[in-house]
């Protein structure tokens, strides 16, 4: 049991923090949102830092780092409210390197690691909400290979990505029923369309429609692969949210120590001080559960699933509280577009509803709850 970061991990954190401070200013971020919520140059800069290949195996041109390094990086990107979906690259790289056939890995992983290709998850369906097993997309095996027909919403930077990872149902010849499989679909493939739009956090997403679009099979064990993808995504999201909250609490502290009302700093009012203490509580509970989710990522699937669900239950509550109270403690300036804290709030709100919200994951925890408490860690 040890929660110290290694020297290498601390150096990685510093490198990302320096980039955020110098290169990803609030002004630049605002400009990116005004230009559509996605900046290919920023993606290139992330690649130059080596981050797009963070978890990719070395023989595919990556750094072969793990969950803790991902957490460190995502925390710093969260602190900078970075819009470009690095977490998606890490999720896609993990899924491909764990489940895809070797040739497919060799074709895509090096390009993803170098930043040449952006591959994102396209799984959200209108009727599924957060339930991974609900999937209406269909895949068919033809003489020329697989084709997929699907409509997927809220695909991160979906109209900028090189390819999507798409879950779809296939007929299972042995059982006669359907099973979920995972496919890689290129954006330029026939029948593929992506309609991009802004998202509430200032970033970009797209609705992707596929109409008998040629696709490459990643795995026929699609549900397990999606669960892995979402768990990796959840752990990254938790870390990102911790970074945003850390920044949000720091902004609030600074504001309380500079804003004067009634002739005194508002930091002198106990009602506000206690609220800040409660924000700190939610931040540290969230950080604790971010560690927990990250350190359980290599556990057997059931244990991993429970851990990320528990983590998101805590994170969801923390996210809501910290975001709302930061706006409240800032007063009027907190609800303006001009000042950064509203952007923290909107980022947090979007993270709350990504990969399952609090109620969804509470349902997961509740459903799988054991009769004994046991030892958690």
């Amino acid at each position: 049991m040890n929660f110290d970061f290694s020297d290498d991990q601390l150096q990685l954190r510093d490198a990302v923090a320096r980039w955020v401070d110098k290169a990803y200013t609030f002004e630049r971020r605002r400009a990116i949102t005004q230009a559509g919520g996605f900046d290919a140059t920023a993606c290139t800069e992330l690649a130059e830092l080596g981050l797009t290949g963070l978890v990719t195996p070395e023989d595919h041109g990556g750094m072969a780092m793990g969950a803790v390094e991902t957490m460190v990086v995502m925390e710093e990107l969260g602190r900078g409210l970075v819009l470009e979906p690095l977490a998606q690259t890490l999720v896609a790289s993990t899924v491909l390197s764990h489940t895809a056939p070797a040739p497919l890995q060799a074709e895509w992983l090096p390009r993803m690691a170098s930043g040449e290709a952006l591959v994102v998850l396209a799984h959200q369906e209108r009727k599924a909400r957060y339930r991974l097993e609900k999937c209406e997309s269909k895949a068919t095996l033809t003489l020329d290979g697989w084709t997929v027909s699907a409509t997927k919403n809220m695909v991160p930077a979906g109209d900028k990505a090189t390819a999507w990872i798409v879950p779809a149902m296939v007929a299972d010849a042995t059982s006669g029923s359907e099973r979920m499989a995972l496919f890689l679909v290129e954006r330029g493939a026939p029948g593929a369309q992506a309609a991009g739009h802004l998202t509430q956090d200032g970033g970009r997403a797209a609705t992707v429609t596929l109409d008998n679009t040629p696709a490459t099979l990643v795995t026929l064990n699609g549900l397990a692969a999606m669960e892995l993808a979402v768990d990796v995504g959840l752990a990254a999201l938790c870390a990102e949210a911790v970074g945003v909250m850390d920044k949000t609490v720091a902004l609030t502290v600074e504001y309380m120590n500079t804003r004067k009302q009634f002739g005194v700093f508002i930091a002198s009012f106990q009602a506000l001080r206690h609220r800040l203490a409660d924000m700190k509580m939610q931040l540290e509970l969230a950080r604790s559960m971010s560690y927990y989710a990250t350190l359980k990522l290599n556990a057997p699937a059931a244990e991993r699933r429970l851990a990320t669900a528990r983590a998101k239950v805590q994170l969801g509550q923390s996210i809501r509280f910290v975001g709302q109270q930061a706006v409240q403690l800032h007063g009027g300036i907190g609800v303006t577009d001009e000042y950064i804290v509203s952007h923290c709030f909107k980022k947090l709100t979007q993270l709350e509803m990504t990969f399952g919200d609090t109620l969804h994951h509470l349902g997961q925890v509740s459903e799988g709850m054991q009769e004994t408490a046991g030892v958690f860690a």
Partner: protein, 400 residues
Amino acid sequence: MDLAFTPEEQQFREEVRAWVRTHLPADIAHKVHNALRLSRDDMQRWAKILGSRGWLGFGWPQQFGGPGWTAVQKHLFEEECALAGAPRIVPFGPVMVAPVIMAFGSPEQQQRFLPGIASGEVWWSQGYSEPGSGSDLASVKCRAERVGDHYVVNGQKTWTTLGQYGEWIFCLVRTSTEGKPQTGISFLLIDMKSPGVTVRPIKLLDGECEVNEVWFDNVQVPAENLVGEENKGWNYAKYLLAHERTNIADVNRSKRELERLKRIAQAEGVWEDQRFRDQIALLEVDIVALEMMVLRVLSAEKSGKQSLDIAGLLKIRGSEIQQRYAELMMLAAGPYSLPFIFEAMEAGWQGDAALGISEFPGGNLANAPLASTYFNLRKTTIYGGSNEVQRNIVSQMLLG
């Protein structure tokens, strides 16, 4: 980073577990697991068993006869005791006054007092709070005047937990009214059998007498019972509070009680009620998060290379969770938690012939203590520095 305990830590846990499960008397564990009333004898019996193994002073360094455990080992020891159903160690002797005597007491005081604390022979009490000094502890008024080779003590202490059993009491007394309130306080050890000491139990909302008022009327205390220097007592008290806070989150006990909550929920038919079950799930998440926070503090102590500013949060969260499990246990039983039969909280109660009651009117006898525990645990957000005082401390660290 690693979530798992090291093989050495794991082996240590196994050894402690085996020993505790062998030596903890079954009748005591039964009471703890069912929140039945513990007698003075129950508590002292377990203290002496631990004392015989050298583990009552489980936080003590080896030079004073302790095991010299690391922070992680201490945590594992407390966890194994809690999960096995051991009563909580009455902390006033081994956890509170002993470290002060070790750090600031004279060699004579160490030789005189530490053995009785380590063995569990001598019951200590704490004389801190006064009617006018709760959260504002530095305002204590209980006077100690130096007269020759004695102090003469006059005043009142209150909220003295289990003081009715106390043989000795360590007190913060006022020896000077000059300067700031903190600079006129001394740390005095007082024999509770001394003439002029009166103990009056205070009946609490659950009907139990867990705390007491202690009066001092011209009590003569030998000057050799002063710990450290006169008027330096506040420093020693702060040192003690730092020791008191190590297990303030009490997460081990909350894990055990979560299991009990699940048993009660099943017996009362709400385990399958989705709305109720979700509340248990939420508490389970809260407990995991608290445990992770505790482990982070332990890890920081172990490595000693990072300072962690979250220890103050542990008291707030830990106490809230204790209140929540008690609340859910009571709500699980609902109206069947409401019959108040004081004797039904004794082990082995089999009805009351005088009342014409042959079984507990709340159905399951396990329901008898639920409401009382709920009422009793409202204390947790008040004692040890109220949660509002803790929030002041947390915000002070953030805002400067």
